[in-house]
């Protein structure tokens, strides 16, 4: 299984990026082996529609679970279409967050957690 965590850097020790569509990196992690790959988010500088585009990116990478700070309405719709589960309510480094994930401490959302363009503010 693959988990995507939005991150400000490309290491497991990097801080989580609370934005989804405009985060710097996706860390694609296998939660069992903790093996990971850092993928630069090409949607970060999109003029619009960063959320849906980022959803397509992680969907194509075979991600099943997304851990991030917040997700807007368009992004959530695209993630739902991809069948990707969305977990929020985390902060800290990617490593710490994976620990919380293992303990089941992250909240799964069934709808957008913020309005449009929140990542641009």
């Amino acid at each position: 299984m693959k988990i995507a965590v939005t991150a400000k850097g490309n290491e497991l020790t990097s801080e989580m990026d609370p934005r989804f569509g405009r985060c710097r990196f996706f860390l694609i992690v296998d939660p069992n082996t903790k093996e990971f790959e850092a993928v630069e988010n090409k949607s970060a500088m999109a003029t619009g529609g960063a959320g849906p585009q980022a959803s397509q990116t992680i969907s194509r990478l075979g991600v099943e679970v997304l851990i991030t700070g917040n997700v807007g309405p368009n992004a959530f719709e695209a993630l739902k279409a991809s069948g990707i589960r969305v977990l929020i309510g985390a902060s800290g480094t990617v490593e710490e967050i994976l620990g919380k994930y293992d303990k089941g401490e992250l909240e799964e959302i069934q709808g957008a957690s913020v309005g449009s363009h929140s990542g641009m503010r």
Partner: protein, 275 residues
């Protein structure tokens, strides 16, 4: 001759300058390009009548033909289309109506339908006035501005009242004109936004001059800036209580206070000399 009246900051007096300039130039046409909040008509008597509907092409996807190859989603610069597995999502509010998805689709699964975004209205008075009205809920007024600019009088003089800011609607209004008049006020906010607009107009490559409105309320930093940058100062409109009174009743300055007509004619003469 085409003159755009613009400013970065809102509320500096673009409409005041545009309306009074048009009223001071015989045979001119006034076009209000602020399609999100047109207001020139408040100062011009007579009703506005609809002359045209404005639509943009919007894609309609035939999901029986769609192979979910994702080429349209990759092509779309505005990310209005997402293709995820066997699902296609279309975010209408992100679509700019370029029609590229129809051209790129190898399965011919995209059809174009007309999507209404607003209207153009006209007042056939002594000074013809056109304005556009963007439909409520529509995010993108540039196609209406483009249509409005096509109504310019090529042989005469057309004044465009620009929307505020330095984004697409203002750029669309200012491009291809012969001259821009940048209206500002002598305040820190006025100067700050004037500088942003100057950057944009220089990029567009149109000659421009500055009009200071409500002269006397602030300081002389706009003067200093214009002098240092070699920007012509076309006029200063004083912070006159009589102007404010006329404005509050929807009466143009040159109608209520005819002695100001000279000031607006001077702006026009100076502007003409710069082209």
């Amino acid at each position: 001759m085409k003159i755009a009246v613009a400013s970065g900051k809102g509320g500096t007096g673009k409409t005041t300058v545009a309306v009074n300039l048009a009223l001071s130039i015989k045979g001119s046409t006034l076009i209000d390009c602020d399609v999100e909040g047109p207001n020139c008509h408040l100062f011009v008597r007579g009703p506005m009548k609809k002359v045209k509907d404005v639509s943009i092409p919007a894609p309609k996807f035939d999901l029986d033909k769609c192979t979910y190859c994702g080429k349209c989603a990759d092509f779309c610069q505005y990310n209005a289309i997402s293709v995820i597995g066997r699902k296609l999502l279309f975010f209408k509010e992100l679509c700019h109506g370029c029609g590229g998805c129809r051209i790129i689709c190898p399965a011919e699964a995209v059809e174009e339908i007309e999507h209404h975004i607003g209207v153009i209205e006209m007042n056939e008075g002594e000074r013809p006035l056109f304005h556009g009205m963007l439909d409520i809920g529509e995010p993108f007024g540039v196609p209406i501005i483009r249509e409005l600019k096509g109504l310019s009088d090529d042989d005469g003089i057309t004044i465009f009242d620009s929307p505020p800011g330095t984004a697409c609607p203002a750029v669309e209004t200012m491009r291809d004109v012969d001259l821009c008049i940048l209206v500002t006020e002598p305040t820190p906010f006025g100067l700050h936004d004037l500088k942003l607009t100057v950057d944009v107009v220089r990029e567009i490559g149109v000659p421009f001059g500055v009009v200071v409105n409500r002269d006397g309320i602030g300081d002389d930093r706009v003067d200093t800036y214009c002098r240092e940058e070699g920007i012509p100062l076309l006029a200063k409109i004083p912070n006159d209580m009589e102007i404010a009174k006329a404005y509050s009743m929807g009466v143009p300055i040159v109608v209520a206070l005819p002695h100001y007509m000279e000031l607006f004619r001077e702006i026009y003469e100076k502007a003409r000399g710069m082209i």
